[in-house]
Amino acid sequence: MGPVTDDATTIMVVDDHPMWRDGVSRDLESAGFQVVATADSVAAAATRAQATQPQVVLMDMQLPDGNGADATARVLEVAPQANVLVLSASSERDDVLQAVKAGACGYLVKSASATELLDAVNATAQGQAVFTPGLAGLVLGEYRRMASEPTPVGAEPTPSLTPRELEVLRLVAKGLSAKQIGRRLDVSHRTVENHVQATLRKLQLSNRIELTRYAIEHELD
């Protein structure tokens, strides 16, 4: 647990519950992170993200004026370099998927231990996807849902997983670590992480294409 330094990772904590917000902020600061802002609503999160440009945003899923997916999109609009880590309760699954599609790069359940949280924030700060088994299961489900739906004529083909990506994602969803997966598949854990990142990027890209197409079709530019 190091002291706060000038190059400490800057963090914004978004949660409408003051006790949780303060507790997490305290934990983060004592671990050497710099909490530059806290917010209790989607609107406040967008304003403060723009003002403070945090490197990491810890995002709750239920906010009084919207959900975490809206908040993630709004924050990334004004602070594009921020990495959003979603903290959620297990019951908000669909919201979590929406937040990930909106650009969040990780998902952790609120009951995770402080050590798990700090590890996740560290990984997020470095731009790595924090892929819990839960998130892998959601992403896997989303690819399968997209594959089962017919693509409209003339539309961009929906993104799909390569056989290797599918294999890796299933193993992550079953709770194996990158190292364990690397051993099983006889590849380096870096390769495993790259596969995982790729699945997430394709999903976010397709979401952006979808949104753009929607905007063009409905002349919402």
Binding site: D16, H17, M19, W20, G23, Q62, A89, S90, S91, R93, D94, V96, L97, K110, S111, A112, S113, A114, T115, L117, T132, P133, G134, L135, A136, G137, L138, L140, G141, E142, R144, R145, S148, R170, A173, K174, G175, R184
Partner: protein, 396 residues
């Protein structure tokens, strides 16, 4: 605070009652007109013999008719008094007024004319009965008053050609049916509004619990995990309560299925211990009830086994996948694994081995169970169940 005002249990037939009083007003005007025309008539015309034997009393009776109409009209339209005694009184007055014809008018006249309170005014009593007691009571009253009226006029032989009976019967039955329909619709609407309000309240409570108690419990669990001794125990207990509350909320939010299927994911999550990591798709997965019950039971059996045999610190993971034509449930632990031959040994000893039980139960629901285990990879069960014609599969 949002406040929704919905008039539930209001009297749905009130608009009918009010409309009926407009008709009553018109019928009173007609009755007065008929009295003015008839009271000075002569039978036969030009004979000098007055049609009415007691013209003064007939005027008093018409006055009673007018006063009663005014009072009852106001009472019905503004719900001033309970309706049943009013309607009974109205019936009695109507019957007496019809019968009074024989007293105040000479037979030579009323034998060929309408009774004193005309058919038109008599209809009011039929309308009131129909609105209050429904189509059968309305129809019976209509026919009864019509026959009484025809009897007084000694016109029974004209019952088929006279329009009175069919008109009063139709009025009684149709208005009765109409009143019944709107009353029932109102009751159903009230029930729906009540149910919606109850659901809203449940959702509000769930949000409140989520925003308050759950967050605090999650925080206690998180901080407790970093401490030792009693604090760690408290944290663990808080975590268990957090899980129990979440389960309660998610179960409460689940709507009962309208068909014979159950949502697998929520049922599964409800029984999983707090330390089992669950992952699955965002969309609901519906399977036949029996299949879901058996699958959940098999998962619980496997997890019990993990707790007993996988060793200290072993973690368990459950992955739910929807492959379209089949549903796959993977239960994995990162424990010591089952040494080669152990499962076979158990079966050879004739015990109800884990393997046999799990495989047998999966086969019963038309699925299969695949086991992958080894000393360094833990134990992994893959449970496959077919989708769609699953119920047929469960029967063979």
């Amino acid at each position: 605070m949002e406040r929704v005002v919905v008039q539930i249990d209001a009297d749905a037939t009130l608009p009918f009652w009010r409309g009926a009083q407009v008709f009553r007003f018109a019928s009173v005007a007609y009755a007065i007109g008929a009295q003015v025309v008839s009271v000075n008539a002569e039978v036969p015309v030009g004979s000098g013999v007055p049609a009415y034997s007691h013209p003064l009393i007939s005027w008093l009776l018409i006055a009673l008719l007018v006063i009663w109409s005014g009072v009852s009209g106001l009472v019905y339209a503004f719900e001033l008094l309970p309706r049943p005694p009013m309607v009974i009184t109205e019936l009695v007055i109507t019957v007496l007024l019809i019968a009074s014809t024989m007293w105040v008018v000479r037979p030579e006249y009323y034998h060929h004319h309408q009774s004193l309170p005309s058919t038109f005014w008599v209809t009011n009593a039929v309308v009131s009965v129909a609105l209050l007691w429904g189509p059968i009571a309305g129809g019976v009253t209509g026919v009864g008053l019509s026959l009484l009226s025809l009897g007084v006029e000694e016109q029974f032989h004209n019952v088929v050609t006279d329009a009175t009976t069919p008109i009063l019967l139709t009025v009684g039955v149709t208005l009765g049916i109409g009143a019944r329909i709107v009353t029932r619709a109102q009751q159903e609407l009230s029930a729906a509004v009540r149910m919606q309000a109850a659901t809203k309240e449940r959702e509000r409570l769930a949000r409140e619990v989520h925003d308050g108690a759950l967050q605090v419990l999650a925080l206690m669990r998180r901080r407790g995990a970093d401490l030792d001794g009693d604090a760690a125990e408290l944290g663990r207990l808080a975590g268990e309560q957090e899980q129990a509350l979440r389960t309660l909320i998610s179960r409460q939010a689940a709507m009962p299925g309208i068909d014979e299927t159950t949502e697998l994911r929520s049922r599964l999550q409800a029984v999983l211990p707090a330390d089992v990591a669950f992952s699955g798709p965002a969309d609901a997965i519906h399977l036949p009830d029996a299949m879901v019950t058996e699958l959940v039971a098999v998962v619980v059996t496997i997890l019990d086994n993990v707790a007993r045999h996988a060793g200290d610190g072993a973690r368990a993971f459950v992955l739910l996948e929807d492959l379209g034509d089949e549903v796959v449930l993977t239960v994995r632990d990162d424990g010591v694994g089952i040494p080669d031959g152990r499962l076979g040994e158990a079966e050879a000893e004739g015990r109800m081995g884990v393997s046999k039980s799990i495989r047998g139960r999966m086969a019963d629901i038309g699925g299969e169970a695949l086991l992958d285990t080894g000393p360094d990879i833990g134990t992994e069960w893959e449970l496959h169940v077919p989708r769609g014609d699953g119920q047929d599969g469960a029967r063979d």
